[in-house]
Amino acid sequence: MATVETSETAVSAAEGEGVRRRDFINVAAVAFAGVGAVAVLPTLINQMNPSADVLAAATTEVDLSAIKPGQAIKAVFRSQPLFVRQLTPKEIAEADARPVASLRDPQSLEERTQPGKKQWLVTMGVCTHLGCVPLGAGEGEVRGEFGGYFCPCHGSSYDTAARIIKGPAPKNLEVPEYKFTSDTAILVG
Protein backbone atom coordinates (compact mmCIF):
# COMPACT_ATOMS: atom_id res chain seq x y z
CA MET A 1 0.00 0.00 0.00
CA ALA A 2 2.65 2.46 1.07
CA THR A 3 4.85 1.64 -1.89
CA VAL A 4 1.93 2.08 -4.28
CA GLU A 5 1.19 5.53 -2.89
CA THR A 6 4.83 6.52 -3.04
CA SER A 7 5.06 5.55 -6.66
CA GLU A 8 1.83 7.38 -7.47
CA THR A 9 3.10 10.47 -5.72
CA ALA A 10 6.31 10.17 -7.65
CA VAL A 11 4.42 9.87 -10.90
CA SER A 12 2.15 12.82 -10.20
CA ALA A 13 5.12 14.88 -9.07
CA ALA A 14 6.92 13.98 -12.26
CA GLU A 15 3.93 15.01 -14.34
CA GLY A 16 3.70 18.24 -12.34
CA GLU A 17 -0.01 17.74 -11.66
CA GLY A 18 -1.78 19.00 -8.55
CA VAL A 19 -4.86 17.07 -7.47
CA ARG A 20 -5.58 14.13 -9.72
CA ARG A 21 -8.99 12.69 -10.41
CA ARG A 22 -8.20 9.60 -8.33
CA ASP A 23 -7.23 11.77 -5.33
CA PHE A 24 -10.53 13.55 -5.58
CA ILE A 25 -12.50 10.30 -5.77
CA ASN A 26 -10.54 8.95 -2.78
CA VAL A 27 -11.24 12.01 -0.60
CA ALA A 28 -14.87 12.20 -1.71
CA ALA A 29 -15.52 8.52 -0.98
CA VAL A 30 -13.92 8.60 2.47
CA ALA A 31 -15.63 11.89 3.33
CA PHE A 32 -18.99 10.49 2.23
CA ALA A 33 -18.55 7.40 4.39
CA GLY A 34 -17.40 9.60 7.27
CA VAL A 35 -20.42 11.87 7.02
CA GLY A 36 -22.66 8.81 6.94
CA ALA A 37 -21.03 7.39 10.07
CA VAL A 38 -21.37 10.71 11.90
CA ALA A 39 -24.99 11.06 10.78
CA VAL A 40 -26.07 7.92 12.67
CA LEU A 41 -24.24 8.95 15.86
CA PRO A 42 -26.97 11.25 17.27
CA THR A 43 -29.50 8.43 17.11
CA LEU A 44 -27.11 5.97 18.71
CA ILE A 45 -26.37 8.41 21.52
CA ASN A 46 -29.82 9.88 21.99
CA GLN A 47 -31.50 6.49 22.41
CA MET A 48 -29.95 6.39 25.85
CA ASN A 49 -31.74 9.54 27.01
CA PRO A 50 -34.99 9.19 28.97
CA SER A 51 -37.74 7.74 26.76
CA ALA A 52 -41.11 9.38 26.19
CA ASP A 53 -42.90 7.37 28.89
CA VAL A 54 -40.24 8.29 31.44
CA LEU A 55 -40.53 11.95 30.45
CA ALA A 56 -44.33 11.75 30.56
CA ALA A 57 -44.04 10.81 34.21
CA ALA A 58 -41.66 13.72 34.75
CA THR A 59 -44.24 15.96 36.44
CA THR A 60 -46.12 15.24 39.65
CA GLU A 61 -49.16 16.89 41.14
CA VAL A 62 -49.35 17.10 44.93
CA ASP A 63 -52.48 17.89 46.90
CA LEU A 64 -51.59 20.03 49.92
CA SER A 65 -55.02 20.22 51.56
CA ALA A 66 -54.37 17.33 53.95
CA ILE A 67 -51.00 18.57 55.20
CA LYS A 68 -51.34 20.39 58.53
CA PRO A 69 -48.70 22.81 59.89
CA GLY A 70 -45.75 20.82 61.18
CA GLN A 71 -46.61 17.85 58.98
CA ALA A 72 -44.76 16.56 55.96
CA ILE A 73 -45.48 14.00 53.26
CA LYS A 74 -43.30 11.96 50.93
CA ALA A 75 -44.38 12.05 47.29
CA VAL A 76 -42.69 10.60 44.24
CA PHE A 77 -41.21 12.91 41.61
CA ARG A 78 -39.22 11.42 38.72
CA SER A 79 -39.05 8.16 40.70
CA GLN A 80 -37.29 9.91 43.53
CA PRO A 81 -38.70 10.94 46.91
CA LEU A 82 -40.12 14.46 47.20
CA PHE A 83 -40.63 16.05 50.62
CA VAL A 84 -43.54 18.50 51.01
CA ARG A 85 -43.71 20.17 54.41
CA GLN A 86 -45.92 22.84 55.91
CA LEU A 87 -43.69 24.75 58.33
CA THR A 88 -44.99 25.97 61.67
CA PRO A 89 -44.47 29.68 62.50
CA LYS A 90 -41.80 28.58 64.98
CA GLU A 91 -39.91 26.66 62.30
CA ILE A 92 -40.11 29.66 59.97
CA ALA A 93 -38.77 31.90 62.73
CA GLU A 94 -35.91 29.47 63.39
CA ALA A 95 -34.99 29.41 59.72
CA ASP A 96 -35.13 33.21 59.44
CA ALA A 97 -33.05 33.65 62.58
CA ARG A 98 -30.08 31.86 61.02
CA PRO A 99 -27.65 34.30 59.32
CA VAL A 100 -27.57 33.40 55.63
CA ALA A 101 -23.90 34.29 55.24
CA SER A 102 -22.93 31.67 57.83
CA LEU A 103 -24.36 28.83 55.70
CA ARG A 104 -22.37 26.39 53.60
CA ASP A 105 -24.84 26.90 50.74
CA PRO A 106 -26.17 30.41 51.45
CA GLN A 107 -29.89 30.67 50.71
CA SER A 108 -32.69 32.30 52.67
CA LEU A 109 -36.03 30.62 53.29
CA GLU A 110 -37.63 33.14 50.87
CA GLU A 111 -35.33 32.00 48.09
CA ARG A 112 -36.31 28.40 48.76
CA THR A 113 -40.08 28.93 48.76
CA GLN A 114 -42.64 30.59 46.49
CA PRO A 115 -43.55 34.25 47.14
CA GLY A 116 -46.26 34.53 49.81
CA LYS A 117 -46.15 30.76 50.43
CA LYS A 118 -43.30 30.75 52.89
CA GLN A 119 -44.82 27.95 54.96
CA TRP A 120 -44.69 25.45 52.06
CA LEU A 121 -41.26 23.87 51.83
CA VAL A 122 -40.95 21.58 48.80
CA THR A 123 -37.63 19.76 48.42
CA MET A 124 -36.21 16.61 46.92
CA GLY A 125 -35.77 13.82 49.47
CA VAL A 126 -32.30 13.12 48.15
CA CYS A 127 -29.26 13.91 50.27
CA THR A 128 -26.81 16.03 48.27
CA HIS A 129 -23.91 13.94 49.56
CA LEU A 130 -24.35 10.51 48.00
CA GLY A 131 -28.06 10.42 47.26
CA CYS A 132 -29.55 8.71 50.31
CA VAL A 133 -33.08 9.50 51.48
CA PRO A 134 -32.91 11.65 54.64
CA LEU A 135 -35.19 10.99 57.62
CA GLY A 136 -37.63 13.57 58.97
CA ALA A 137 -40.56 13.56 56.56
CA GLY A 138 -42.34 10.62 58.17
CA GLU A 139 -44.23 10.66 61.44
CA GLY A 140 -41.87 10.05 64.37
CA GLU A 141 -38.66 10.01 62.32
CA VAL A 142 -35.46 11.56 63.65
CA ARG A 143 -35.12 15.13 62.40
CA GLY A 144 -31.56 15.80 63.56
CA GLU A 145 -30.24 18.45 65.87
CA PHE A 146 -31.44 21.35 63.68
CA GLY A 147 -35.05 20.20 63.45
CA GLY A 148 -35.19 19.66 59.70
CA TYR A 149 -33.95 16.49 58.04
CA PHE A 150 -31.25 14.04 59.03
CA CYS A 151 -29.45 11.68 56.68
CA PRO A 152 -28.63 8.41 58.43
CA CYS A 153 -25.99 7.38 55.89
CA HIS A 154 -23.24 9.83 56.73
CA GLY A 155 -24.85 12.08 59.31
CA SER A 156 -25.75 15.20 57.31
CA SER A 157 -28.11 17.46 59.32
CA TYR A 158 -30.42 19.94 57.62
CA ASP A 159 -32.29 22.82 59.30
CA THR A 160 -36.01 23.64 59.13
CA ALA A 161 -35.50 25.19 55.69
CA ALA A 162 -33.73 21.95 54.60
CA ARG A 163 -30.41 23.78 54.40
CA ILE A 164 -27.22 21.85 55.13
CA ILE A 165 -25.76 22.80 58.52
CA LYS A 166 -23.58 19.91 59.58
CA GLY A 167 -22.12 16.80 57.94
CA PRO A 168 -20.55 15.94 54.60
CA ALA A 169 -23.31 17.08 52.19
CA PRO A 170 -22.16 20.03 50.05
CA LYS A 171 -25.55 21.59 49.20
CA ASN A 172 -28.99 22.26 50.63
CA LEU A 173 -31.72 19.77 49.73
CA GLU A 174 -32.64 20.65 46.15
CA VAL A 175 -35.82 22.64 45.56
CA PRO A 176 -37.34 21.37 42.30
CA GLU A 177 -39.19 23.62 39.89
CA TYR A 178 -42.85 23.80 40.85
CA LYS A 179 -45.83 26.11 40.74
CA PHE A 180 -49.08 26.44 42.65
CA THR A 181 -52.00 25.40 40.47
CA SER A 182 -54.40 26.44 43.24
CA ASP A 183 -54.04 27.35 46.90
CA THR A 184 -53.97 23.69 47.87
CA ALA A 185 -52.19 21.99 44.98
CA ILE A 186 -48.81 22.19 43.33
CA LEU A 187 -47.46 20.89 40.05
CA VAL A 188 -43.84 19.78 40.32
CA GLY A 189 -41.58 19.62 37.26
Binding site: V54, K74, V76, L130, V133, H154, G155, P168, P170
Partner: protein, 424 residues
Protein backbone atom coordinates in the same frame (compact mmCIF):
# COMPACT_ATOMS: atom_id res chain seq x y z
CA UNK B 1 7.21 -15.11 17.97
CA UNK B 2 9.34 -17.11 20.30
CA UNK B 3 12.92 -18.07 20.99
CA UNK B 4 14.67 -19.84 18.09
CA UNK B 5 15.14 -22.99 20.18
CA UNK B 6 11.42 -23.36 20.95
CA UNK B 7 9.91 -26.67 19.92
CA UNK B 8 8.29 -26.76 16.50
CA UNK B 9 4.79 -27.94 15.74
CA UNK B 10 5.03 -31.07 13.60
CA UNK B 11 1.68 -32.82 13.11
CA UNK B 12 2.03 -36.58 12.64
CA UNK B 13 -1.65 -37.33 12.18
CA UNK B 14 -2.51 -36.80 8.49
CA UNK B 15 -5.79 -35.12 9.40
CA UNK B 16 -4.00 -32.58 11.63
CA UNK B 17 -1.48 -32.01 8.88
CA UNK B 18 -4.32 -31.38 6.45
CA UNK B 19 -5.90 -28.90 8.88
CA UNK B 20 -2.57 -27.20 9.61
CA UNK B 21 -1.98 -26.59 5.90
CA UNK B 22 -5.36 -24.90 5.55
CA UNK B 23 -5.94 -23.23 8.93
CA UNK B 24 -2.92 -23.27 11.27
CA UNK B 25 -5.04 -22.94 14.38
CA UNK B 26 -3.57 -26.00 16.18
CA UNK B 27 -0.12 -24.56 15.47
CA UNK B 28 -1.22 -21.23 16.92
CA UNK B 29 -2.45 -22.86 20.14
CA UNK B 30 0.70 -25.01 20.34
CA UNK B 31 2.88 -21.92 20.12
CA UNK B 32 0.72 -19.90 22.53
CA UNK B 33 0.05 -22.27 25.42
CA UNK B 34 1.68 -25.53 24.33
CA UNK B 35 5.18 -26.90 24.06
CA UNK B 36 5.98 -24.25 21.45
CA UNK B 37 6.15 -21.49 24.06
CA UNK B 38 9.53 -21.42 25.80
CA UNK B 39 9.20 -20.13 29.37
CA UNK B 40 11.90 -19.29 31.96
CA UNK B 41 12.62 -22.39 34.04
CA UNK B 42 12.43 -20.57 37.40
CA UNK B 43 8.83 -19.30 37.57
CA UNK B 44 7.41 -19.56 41.10
CA UNK B 45 3.80 -20.00 42.17
CA UNK B 46 3.05 -16.25 41.87
CA UNK B 47 3.15 -16.90 38.12
CA UNK B 48 0.07 -19.14 38.42
CA UNK B 49 -2.29 -16.23 38.75
CA UNK B 50 -2.38 -15.28 35.08
CA UNK B 51 -3.75 -18.68 34.15
CA UNK B 52 -6.05 -18.59 37.20
CA UNK B 53 -7.44 -15.22 36.02
CA UNK B 54 -8.11 -16.74 32.63
CA UNK B 55 -9.86 -19.66 34.29
CA UNK B 56 -11.99 -17.27 36.37
CA UNK B 57 -13.01 -15.44 33.18
CA UNK B 58 -14.15 -18.70 31.57
CA UNK B 59 -15.99 -19.65 34.77
CA UNK B 60 -17.84 -16.31 34.75
CA UNK B 61 -18.66 -16.63 31.04
CA UNK B 62 -20.08 -20.14 31.38
CA UNK B 63 -22.12 -19.53 34.55
CA UNK B 64 -23.20 -16.09 33.30
CA UNK B 65 -24.50 -17.34 29.95
CA UNK B 66 -26.52 -20.00 31.77
CA UNK B 67 -27.90 -17.52 34.32
CA UNK B 68 -28.98 -15.23 31.48
CA UNK B 69 -31.23 -18.06 30.24
CA UNK B 70 -33.27 -17.81 33.45
CA UNK B 71 -32.98 -14.14 34.35
CA UNK B 72 -35.49 -11.43 33.45
CA UNK B 73 -33.91 -8.04 32.76
CA UNK B 74 -36.92 -5.97 33.73
CA UNK B 75 -37.24 -3.90 36.89
CA UNK B 76 -40.62 -5.51 37.54
CA UNK B 77 -39.39 -9.10 37.52
CA UNK B 78 -35.59 -8.97 37.97
CA UNK B 79 -35.55 -9.54 41.72
CA UNK B 80 -38.14 -12.31 41.53
CA UNK B 81 -36.36 -14.00 38.64
CA UNK B 82 -33.18 -14.16 40.72
CA UNK B 83 -35.17 -15.77 43.53
CA UNK B 84 -36.68 -18.07 40.89
CA UNK B 85 -33.15 -19.11 39.93
CA UNK B 86 -32.33 -19.70 43.60
CA UNK B 87 -35.43 -21.75 44.40
CA UNK B 88 -36.96 -23.25 41.25
CA UNK B 89 -34.34 -23.65 38.55
CA UNK B 90 -32.60 -27.02 38.78
CA UNK B 91 -29.21 -26.37 40.33
CA UNK B 92 -29.86 -22.66 39.93
CA UNK B 93 -28.63 -21.87 43.43
CA UNK B 94 -25.29 -23.44 42.61
CA UNK B 95 -24.92 -21.56 39.34
CA UNK B 96 -25.81 -18.22 40.89
CA UNK B 97 -23.52 -18.69 43.89
CA UNK B 98 -20.77 -19.89 41.54
CA UNK B 99 -21.19 -16.70 39.49
CA UNK B 100 -21.44 -14.28 42.43
CA UNK B 101 -18.48 -15.80 44.28
CA UNK B 102 -16.70 -16.33 40.98
CA UNK B 103 -16.61 -12.54 40.60
CA UNK B 104 -14.95 -12.20 44.02
CA UNK B 105 -12.41 -14.90 43.22
CA UNK B 106 -11.75 -13.33 39.81
CA UNK B 107 -10.78 -10.12 41.62
CA UNK B 108 -8.71 -12.00 44.22
CA UNK B 109 -6.56 -13.70 41.59
CA UNK B 110 -6.34 -10.56 39.46
CA UNK B 111 -5.22 -8.46 42.43
CA UNK B 112 -2.52 -11.05 43.24
CA UNK B 113 -1.57 -11.06 39.54
CA UNK B 114 -1.27 -7.24 39.57
CA UNK B 115 0.79 -7.14 42.77
CA UNK B 116 3.00 -9.93 41.38
CA UNK B 117 3.68 -7.61 38.45
CA UNK B 118 4.34 -4.69 40.79
CA UNK B 119 6.86 -6.64 42.89
CA UNK B 120 8.76 -8.34 40.10
CA UNK B 121 8.76 -5.27 37.82
CA UNK B 122 6.75 -7.00 35.09
CA UNK B 123 5.59 -3.57 33.86
CA UNK B 124 9.10 -2.56 32.78
CA UNK B 125 10.58 -2.56 29.30
CA UNK B 126 10.04 -4.49 27.13
CA UNK B 127 6.69 -5.50 28.69
CA UNK B 128 5.01 -2.08 29.07
CA UNK B 129 2.28 -2.98 26.59
CA UNK B 130 1.46 -6.15 28.55
CA UNK B 131 0.99 -3.98 31.65
CA UNK B 132 -1.13 -1.36 29.84
CA UNK B 133 -3.41 -3.99 28.32
CA UNK B 134 -3.71 -5.61 31.74
CA UNK B 135 -4.93 -2.30 33.17
CA UNK B 136 -7.48 -2.03 30.36
CA UNK B 137 -8.73 -5.50 31.33
CA UNK B 138 -8.90 -4.38 34.97
CA UNK B 139 -11.00 -1.30 34.08
CA UNK B 140 -13.33 -3.44 31.95
CA UNK B 141 -13.62 -5.92 34.83
CA UNK B 142 -14.61 -3.15 37.22
CA UNK B 143 -17.31 -1.87 34.86
CA UNK B 144 -18.60 -5.40 34.25
CA UNK B 145 -18.65 -6.29 37.96
CA UNK B 146 -20.45 -3.07 38.86
CA UNK B 147 -23.16 -3.61 36.25
CA UNK B 148 -23.51 -7.26 37.22
CA UNK B 149 -24.10 -6.28 40.84
CA UNK B 150 -27.02 -4.08 39.74
CA UNK B 151 -28.84 -6.92 37.98
CA UNK B 152 -30.46 -8.67 41.02
CA UNK B 153 -32.22 -5.34 41.65
CA UNK B 154 -31.93 -5.51 45.41
CA UNK B 155 -31.39 -2.55 47.68
CA UNK B 156 -27.60 -2.54 47.28
CA UNK B 157 -27.99 -2.95 43.50
CA UNK B 158 -30.28 0.05 43.26
CA UNK B 159 -28.40 2.35 45.62
CA UNK B 160 -25.03 1.25 44.27
CA UNK B 161 -26.21 2.23 40.79
CA UNK B 162 -27.46 5.53 42.14
CA UNK B 163 -24.26 6.41 44.00
CA UNK B 164 -21.92 5.32 41.19
CA UNK B 165 -23.80 7.11 38.42
CA UNK B 166 -24.03 10.03 40.88
CA UNK B 167 -20.23 10.23 40.61
CA UNK B 168 -20.68 11.51 37.06
CA UNK B 169 -23.12 14.07 38.43
CA UNK B 170 -20.17 15.66 40.23
CA UNK B 171 -18.72 16.85 36.89
CA UNK B 172 -19.47 20.59 36.57
CA UNK B 173 -22.20 21.75 34.13
CA UNK B 174 -22.53 18.56 32.01
CA UNK B 175 -22.59 16.20 35.00
CA UNK B 176 -26.31 15.95 35.52
CA UNK B 177 -27.27 15.50 31.85
CA UNK B 178 -24.59 12.77 31.66
CA UNK B 179 -26.05 11.03 34.69
CA UNK B 180 -29.57 11.18 33.22
CA UNK B 181 -28.20 9.94 29.88
CA UNK B 182 -26.39 7.01 31.52
CA UNK B 183 -29.48 5.98 33.45
CA UNK B 184 -32.08 6.76 30.79
CA UNK B 185 -34.12 8.40 33.53
CA UNK B 186 -33.80 10.58 36.59
CA UNK B 187 -33.09 7.65 38.90
CA UNK B 188 -32.14 4.02 38.23
CA UNK B 189 -35.10 2.26 36.63
CA UNK B 190 -36.04 -0.20 33.95
CA UNK B 191 -34.05 1.60 31.26
CA UNK B 192 -30.89 1.51 33.38
CA UNK B 193 -31.37 -2.15 34.31
CA UNK B 194 -31.79 -3.20 30.68
CA UNK B 195 -28.75 -1.38 29.38
CA UNK B 196 -26.65 -2.65 32.28
CA UNK B 197 -27.70 -6.20 31.43
CA UNK B 198 -26.86 -5.70 27.76
CA UNK B 199 -23.41 -4.33 28.59
CA UNK B 200 -22.81 -6.88 31.33
CA UNK B 201 -23.30 -9.58 28.72
CA UNK B 202 -21.14 -7.81 26.13
CA UNK B 203 -18.11 -6.67 28.15
CA UNK B 204 -16.80 -10.13 29.16
CA UNK B 205 -16.30 -10.90 25.46
CA UNK B 206 -14.47 -7.60 25.07
CA UNK B 207 -12.34 -8.66 28.06
CA UNK B 208 -11.65 -11.99 26.36
CA UNK B 209 -10.50 -10.10 23.25
CA UNK B 210 -8.18 -7.86 25.27
CA UNK B 211 -6.87 -10.95 27.10
CA UNK B 212 -5.79 -12.31 23.70
CA UNK B 213 -3.97 -9.02 23.01
CA UNK B 214 -2.45 -9.20 26.54
CA UNK B 215 -1.05 -12.68 25.87
CA UNK B 216 0.04 -11.74 22.36
CA UNK B 217 1.97 -8.75 23.73
CA UNK B 218 3.45 -11.01 26.43
CA UNK B 219 4.70 -13.55 23.93
CA UNK B 220 6.73 -10.97 21.99
CA UNK B 221 9.43 -10.68 24.71
CA UNK B 222 8.30 -13.85 26.52
CA UNK B 223 7.41 -14.22 30.20
CA UNK B 224 9.42 -12.41 32.84
CA UNK B 225 10.73 -14.40 35.82
CA UNK B 226 11.46 -13.95 39.54
CA UNK B 227 15.06 -12.83 38.97
CA UNK B 228 14.05 -10.30 36.32
CA UNK B 229 17.14 -11.39 34.33
CA UNK B 230 16.60 -11.86 30.60
CA UNK B 231 16.60 -15.32 29.05
CA UNK B 232 20.05 -15.89 27.55
CA UNK B 233 19.86 -19.35 26.03
CA UNK B 234 18.03 -22.67 25.73
CA UNK B 235 19.25 -23.78 29.18
CA UNK B 236 17.19 -20.92 30.73
CA UNK B 237 13.80 -22.08 29.44
CA UNK B 238 11.48 -25.08 29.49
CA UNK B 239 8.47 -25.68 27.22
CA UNK B 240 5.19 -24.33 28.62
CA UNK B 241 3.66 -27.76 28.13
CA UNK B 242 4.06 -29.97 30.10
CA UNK B 243 6.12 -28.03 32.65
CA UNK B 244 3.82 -25.09 33.36
CA UNK B 245 0.55 -26.71 32.37
CA UNK B 246 1.35 -29.12 35.22
CA UNK B 247 2.39 -26.39 37.62
CA UNK B 248 -0.65 -24.25 36.74
CA UNK B 249 -2.83 -27.35 37.01
CA UNK B 250 -1.67 -27.87 40.58
CA UNK B 251 -2.34 -24.21 41.38
CA UNK B 252 -5.76 -24.50 39.80
CA UNK B 253 -6.54 -27.44 42.09
CA UNK B 254 -5.63 -25.40 45.17
CA UNK B 255 -7.66 -22.47 43.85
CA UNK B 256 -10.70 -24.70 43.27
CA UNK B 257 -10.50 -26.14 46.80
CA UNK B 258 -10.62 -22.66 48.36
CA UNK B 259 -13.30 -21.55 45.90
CA UNK B 260 -15.44 -24.61 46.67
CA UNK B 261 -15.06 -24.02 50.41
CA UNK B 262 -16.52 -20.53 50.09
CA UNK B 263 -19.07 -21.61 47.48
CA UNK B 264 -20.51 -24.42 49.59
CA UNK B 265 -19.93 -23.26 53.16
CA UNK B 266 -20.15 -19.46 52.98
CA UNK B 267 -21.76 -18.46 49.69
CA UNK B 268 -23.04 -15.16 51.12
CA UNK B 269 -19.92 -14.41 53.12
CA UNK B 270 -18.62 -11.89 50.58
CA UNK B 271 -22.01 -10.34 49.74
CA UNK B 272 -24.18 -7.84 51.54
CA UNK B 273 -27.43 -9.07 53.18
CA UNK B 274 -29.29 -5.90 52.11
CA UNK B 275 -29.20 -7.08 48.52
CA UNK B 276 -31.82 -9.67 49.44
CA UNK B 277 -34.28 -6.79 49.98
CA UNK B 278 -36.03 -5.73 46.76
CA UNK B 279 -34.94 -2.32 45.40
CA UNK B 280 -36.87 0.51 47.02
CA UNK B 281 -36.26 4.02 45.65
CA UNK B 282 -38.02 5.53 48.66
CA UNK B 283 -35.75 4.13 51.37
CA UNK B 284 -31.99 4.04 51.61
CA UNK B 285 -30.04 1.25 53.31
CA UNK B 286 -28.35 2.65 56.40
CA UNK B 287 -24.89 1.79 55.14
CA UNK B 288 -24.28 1.79 51.38
CA UNK B 289 -21.10 -0.08 50.49
CA UNK B 290 -19.89 -1.49 47.19
CA UNK B 291 -18.58 -5.04 46.90
CA UNK B 292 -15.32 -5.65 48.80
CA UNK B 293 -13.12 -5.47 45.70
CA UNK B 294 -14.02 -1.79 45.25
CA UNK B 295 -13.38 -0.78 48.86
CA UNK B 296 -9.87 0.71 48.39
CA UNK B 297 -11.17 2.95 45.60
CA UNK B 298 -14.33 3.80 47.54
CA UNK B 299 -12.13 4.90 50.46
CA UNK B 300 -10.19 7.24 48.16
CA UNK B 301 -13.50 8.62 46.85
CA UNK B 302 -14.72 9.41 50.34
CA UNK B 303 -11.37 10.71 51.61
CA UNK B 304 -12.08 14.15 50.17
CA UNK B 305 -14.29 16.01 52.61
CA UNK B 306 -13.07 19.56 51.96
CA UNK B 307 -13.15 21.94 48.97
CA UNK B 308 -9.85 22.89 47.41
CA UNK B 309 -9.30 25.89 45.10
CA UNK B 310 -13.03 26.15 44.39
CA UNK B 311 -13.16 22.49 43.36
CA UNK B 312 -15.94 20.88 45.38
CA UNK B 313 -15.01 17.97 47.64
CA UNK B 314 -17.30 15.55 45.78
CA UNK B 315 -15.61 16.25 42.42
CA UNK B 316 -12.16 15.96 44.02
CA UNK B 317 -13.07 12.55 45.37
CA UNK B 318 -14.25 11.37 41.95
CA UNK B 319 -11.13 12.68 40.23
CA UNK B 320 -8.87 11.09 42.86
CA UNK B 321 -10.61 7.74 42.50
CA UNK B 322 -10.17 7.65 38.73
CA UNK B 323 -6.63 9.04 39.05
CA UNK B 324 -5.66 6.23 41.43
CA UNK B 325 -6.12 3.74 38.58
CA UNK B 326 -5.08 5.94 35.65
CA UNK B 327 -1.84 6.61 37.54
CA UNK B 328 -0.87 2.98 37.00
CA UNK B 329 -0.81 3.60 33.24
CA UNK B 330 2.32 5.76 33.63
CA UNK B 331 3.97 3.46 36.17
CA UNK B 332 6.48 2.01 33.64
CA UNK B 333 7.86 5.53 33.23
CA UNK B 334 7.80 6.47 36.93
CA UNK B 335 9.97 3.57 38.04
CA UNK B 336 13.22 4.19 36.18
CA UNK B 337 15.36 1.54 37.90
CA UNK B 338 16.89 -0.84 35.34
CA UNK B 339 16.56 -3.73 37.82
CA UNK B 340 13.19 -5.42 37.44
CA UNK B 341 12.78 -7.82 40.33
CA UNK B 342 12.05 -6.60 43.86
CA UNK B 343 14.33 -9.41 45.07
CA UNK B 344 17.37 -7.37 44.16
CA UNK B 345 15.96 -4.01 45.25
CA UNK B 346 16.19 -3.80 49.07
CA UNK B 347 14.74 -0.28 49.41
CA UNK B 348 12.00 -0.79 46.80
CA UNK B 349 10.98 -3.99 48.55
CA UNK B 350 10.33 -2.21 51.86
CA UNK B 351 8.13 0.38 50.15
CA UNK B 352 6.33 -2.35 48.21
CA UNK B 353 5.27 -3.99 51.47
CA UNK B 354 4.23 -0.58 52.82
CA UNK B 355 2.06 -0.12 49.73
CA UNK B 356 0.46 -3.51 50.35
CA UNK B 357 -0.38 -2.46 53.92
CA UNK B 358 -1.61 0.92 52.67
CA UNK B 359 -4.00 -0.65 50.15
CA UNK B 360 -5.24 -3.06 52.84
CA UNK B 361 -5.94 -0.10 55.15
CA UNK B 362 -7.75 1.72 52.33
CA UNK B 363 -9.79 -1.41 51.73
CA UNK B 364 -10.73 -1.66 55.38
CA UNK B 365 -11.74 2.02 55.54
CA UNK B 366 -13.75 1.72 52.32
CA UNK B 367 -15.91 -0.94 53.93
CA UNK B 368 -16.28 0.96 57.20
CA UNK B 369 -18.89 3.67 57.85
CA UNK B 370 -17.89 7.17 56.72
CA UNK B 371 -17.15 8.43 60.22
CA UNK B 372 -14.06 9.26 62.24
CA UNK B 373 -11.50 7.84 62.65
CA UNK B 374 -11.93 6.08 59.28
CA UNK B 375 -12.18 9.30 57.28
CA UNK B 376 -8.89 10.62 58.61
CA UNK B 377 -7.19 7.24 58.19
CA UNK B 378 -8.35 6.99 54.58
CA UNK B 379 -7.13 10.54 53.93
CA UNK B 380 -3.65 9.63 55.13
CA UNK B 381 -3.70 6.27 53.33
CA UNK B 382 -4.93 7.86 50.08
CA UNK B 383 -2.20 10.51 50.28
CA UNK B 384 0.37 7.76 50.82
CA UNK B 385 -0.96 5.78 47.85
CA UNK B 386 -0.32 8.70 45.49
CA UNK B 387 2.97 9.55 47.19
CA UNK B 388 4.20 5.98 46.67
CA UNK B 389 3.87 6.18 42.90
CA UNK B 390 4.56 9.86 42.28
CA UNK B 391 7.30 10.63 44.84
CA UNK B 392 8.73 7.53 46.53
CA UNK B 393 9.13 5.29 43.47
CA UNK B 394 10.99 7.82 41.27
CA UNK B 395 13.30 8.75 44.18
CA UNK B 396 13.96 5.13 45.17
CA UNK B 397 14.83 4.32 41.54
CA UNK B 398 17.46 7.07 41.64
CA UNK B 399 19.11 6.51 45.03
CA UNK B 400 18.80 2.75 45.53
CA UNK B 401 21.88 0.52 45.25
CA UNK B 402 20.52 -2.84 44.00
CA UNK B 403 21.97 -6.18 45.04
CA UNK B 404 24.17 -7.99 42.47
CA UNK B 405 22.09 -9.80 39.86
CA UNK B 406 22.78 -13.41 38.92
CA UNK B 407 24.52 -13.80 35.58
CA UNK B 408 21.73 -15.90 34.21
CA UNK B 409 18.49 -17.64 35.17
CA UNK B 410 20.32 -20.97 35.18
CA UNK B 411 22.94 -19.65 37.58
CA UNK B 412 20.19 -18.34 39.86
CA UNK B 413 18.58 -21.80 39.86
CA UNK B 414 21.67 -24.04 40.08
CA UNK B 415 24.20 -21.75 41.75
CA UNK B 416 27.82 -21.78 40.66
CA UNK B 417 27.94 -25.52 40.20
CA UNK B 418 30.12 -26.84 37.38
CA UNK B 419 27.04 -28.31 35.70
CA UNK B 420 25.50 -24.87 35.37
CA UNK B 421 28.69 -23.37 34.01
CA UNK B 422 29.02 -26.27 31.59
CA UNK B 423 25.43 -25.79 30.44
CA UNK B 424 26.21 -22.17 29.61
Amino acid sequence: MSFPWAEQYTPVNPLMKWVDDRLPLPRFVYNAVGAGYAVPRNLNYWWNFGVLSGFALVLQLVTGIILAMHYGANAGVAFDSVEHIMRDVNGGWLLRYAHANGASFFFIVVYIHIFRGLFFGSYKAPREMVWLLGLVIFLLMMATAFMGYVLPWGQMSFWGAKVITGLFGAIPVVGEPIQTWLLGGFAPGNAALNRFFSLHYLLPFVIAAVVILHIWALHIPGSSNPTGVDVKGPQDTVPFHPYYTAKDGFGLGVFLIIYALVLFFGPNMLGHPDNYIPANPMSTPAHIVPEWYFWPFYAILRAFTFDFFFVPAKLLGVLAMFASILLLFVLPWLDTSPVRSGRYRPLFRKFFYLLLVDVAILGYCGGAPAAEPYVMISQIAAAYYFAHFLIILPIVSKIERPLPLPNSITEAVLGHEPAAVAAE
